[in-house]
């Protein structure tokens, strides 16, 4: 009796300590996020209050030293590159998830899945190097200079396809067997089962993967700096060299001061808001696969 009491009380003390450790870690990581957003707000506040949010969108150019703070060309370049990459990567990623689960012989599917996981971990600067030496000259052969929105889109596609493939694959894996068996028992073909039962059932997870991939594309910096040309202009053609918001921060932060520096924080704040919105939408969708 005494013994069991002691052991259960020591267990409950261990439990309490574990709960405290887990809670501290959890609170710590969310506090870091809050701190980052607070820091962005604090640093961009001088620009937001003196220049005003509207001028960041409507000023005709980005010449911060001359009092022109138009971020619109870079915002549109960021959006165009991300949207373009999502358009290319979605069919690739979803097809790859379907291929390795439903069509590939098991060893090939396994290899394919692993290579997707590895690709998602390749440092972006390495992908940028490859883009700089392979993609940019290739585009340059048809439409000089080569460093362009298109190069940015292609590089981002390589980087976000694994995200979509892995998330879609996880969504397909989480479906109950009953859907597939039920569909086969009704005499549906494999294509019909996929198109009309499995993919619609997994669409929440697939959509979440697409949004997270879009968030990753928006936030990508290094590879984009290397391949997209870095000229501040609104993209009118796929072959125009452009500069994304992220690239702008990376390129100018080193020497920016005063309201120039503060307006770079404004672009950081803008990106963070976009990414949070995408992540929130992804989170809602992924918790929502049961309704249809």
């Amino acid at each position: 009796m005494t013994l069991s009491n002691r052991s259960s009380s020591s267990r409950s003390r261990r439990d309490t300590r574990l709960v405290a450790a887990v809670a501290t870690a959890a609170l710590g990581s969310s506090a870091i996020f809050v701190l980052i957003v607070g820091f962005l707000l604090k640093e961009s506040w001088p620009a937001l209050s003196t220049i005003g949010p509207a001028r960041f969108l409507f000023d005709p150019a980005w010449r911060p030293t001359e009092g022109l703070f138009g971020l619109a060309p870079m915002l549109s370049a960021s959006l165009a590159a991300s949207v373009g990459a999502v358009i290319l990567a979605t069919p690739l990623g979803v097809a790859s998830a379907i291929f390795c689960r439903h069509y590939a012989p098991p060893p090939i599917g396994w290899i394919h899945r692993w290579s997707m996981a590895l690709l998602s971990g390749v440092p972006s600067v390495v992908i940028g190097l490859w883009g700089l030496t392979a993609i940019v000259p290739l585009i340059g052969r048809f439409e000089p200079p080569g460093a362009s929105l298109l190069a940015g889109i292609l590089i981002l596609t390589v980087m976000i396809t694994p995200t979509i493939a892995l998330m879609s694959g996880a969504a397909l894996d989480s479906l109950p067997d009953a859907y597939g068996r039920g569909a086969v028992a009704l005499g549906l073909s494999r294509e019909a089962t996929l198109a009309h039962v499995l993919l619609p059932a997994a669409r929440g997870g697939v959509a979440a993967g697409i949004l997270l991939a879009a968030a990753r594309a928006l936030g990508e910096t290094m590879a984009i700096v290397m391949v997209s040309g870095n000229v501040v202009q609104a993209p009118l053609s796929l072959f125009d060299p452009v500069r994304m918001l992220t690239a702008n921060i990376a390129l100018e932060m080193a020497y920016a001061t005063g309201s120039h520096r503060a307006s770079l924080f404004v672009s950081g704040l803008m990106l963070t808001a976009l990414v949070i919105a995408l992540a929130a939408a992804a989170w809602r969708l992924s918790g929502d696969h049961c309704h249809g």
Binding site: P176, A178, Y179, R181, G182, A183, V184, A185, L186, G187, L188, S189, A192, H196, V197, P200, A201, H289, C290, H291, G292
Partner: protein
């Protein structure tokens, strides 16, 4: 042949089981006395381990045939071999013959999708797709070539009326099927199967995941489908088997493989079984 009793010693060895003929006249009026499905010496193994050994029986057109027996005696394996759903399980091997309207379903020429359209299946857990009620019914029809809107609407209406669901869902055909109650979902699954106008319905414990009220409704539905469809139902529920079935087959586990012990008119299986294992099982002494 209608009645069948395993000669327990014979099934243990290699010899073919002994058969005895039962009286045809005793068959229920809804049944045609000719088999729709003839199973001959069916042996089914998973990765070389037999789950079902040398099962032979006839399933009669328009009748309800109940498969009874303890868990793990191969009832589900038997059902899923009838529409070749067993093909989906890696390492599953089937020996013996299954004749559906005289054609061997394992023939190279058999169109498996067409077979599965004619032999529908209802699972233990209701498995409507996460689509609307209407899409659940229409999508398989479209895949089997029904394209005209009027035909689709008529099929949706007809199948929902047949399962008694029409009045309950007529105003919300476009609502998600997963919002229905468990019993309604199971009836929707039955409607989805019969919308394809199958000849045979295989039901694997169709009521066991439902509450008692829904279970009664589904059971009444099965009874009302008798005559129109050939039904094979696997069930743990002996009272249910007795209420709905015309024929019953009793499965038992021998040497870790399912075997058919006795097959006969349902009444006879329950009231005057010829094999002592059957008698012990239906009286509740074993199982």
């Amino acid at each position: 042949m209608i009645a069948y009793i395993a000669d327990t010693d014979a099934t243990a060895g290699s010899g073919r089981a002994a058969y005895t003929l039962g009286p045809l006249a005793a068959g229920p009026t809804c049944c045609e006395p000719r088999p729709q499905i003839s199973v001959e010496n069916l042996t089914l193994a998973y990765d070389g381990r037999a789950a079902l050994k040398e099962v032979s029986l006839d399933i009669f057109r328009g009748c309800v045939t109940a498969l009874i027996g303890p868990s793990g005696c191969g009832k589900t394996s038997f059902l899923s071999s009838l529409n070749r759903l067993s093909d989906l399980i890696p390492g599953c091997e089937v020996e013996g013959r299954i004749l559906f309207d005289g054609q061997n379903i394992h023939d190279q020429l058999t169109n498996v999708r067409a077979l599965r359209r004619r032999v529908g299946m209802i699972f233990q857990r209701p498995n409507p797709f996460p689509l609307s009620i209407r899409r659940n019914l229409e999508m398989p029809l479209k895949e089997h070539g029904v394209q005209r809107r009027a035909d689709l609407d008529a099929a949706v209406w007809r199948s929902l009326v047949d399962v008694g669901l029409w009045e309950e869902v007529r105003d919300r055909l476009d609502a998600p099927a997963l919002a229905l109650s468990g019993g309604q979902q199971q009836r929707l699954c039955i409607a989805r199967a019969i919308a394809l106008q199958p000849d045979v319905l295989l039901m694997d414990e169709p009521c066991s995941a439902l509450d008692p009220v829904s279970s009664t409704i589904v059971e009444d539905l099965i009874a009302s489908l008798r005559g129109g469809y050939t039904i094979v139902i696997a069930t743990h529920n002996l009272a249910q088997a007795r209420r709905v079935a015309n024929y019953a087959g009793f499965f038992w586990v021998k040497d870790r493989a399912g075997v058919l012990i006795e097959f006969d008119h349902c009444q006879r299986i329950f009231d005057s079984p010829r094999h002592e294992l059957t008698a012990a099982y239906v009286s509740g002494r074993r199982g």
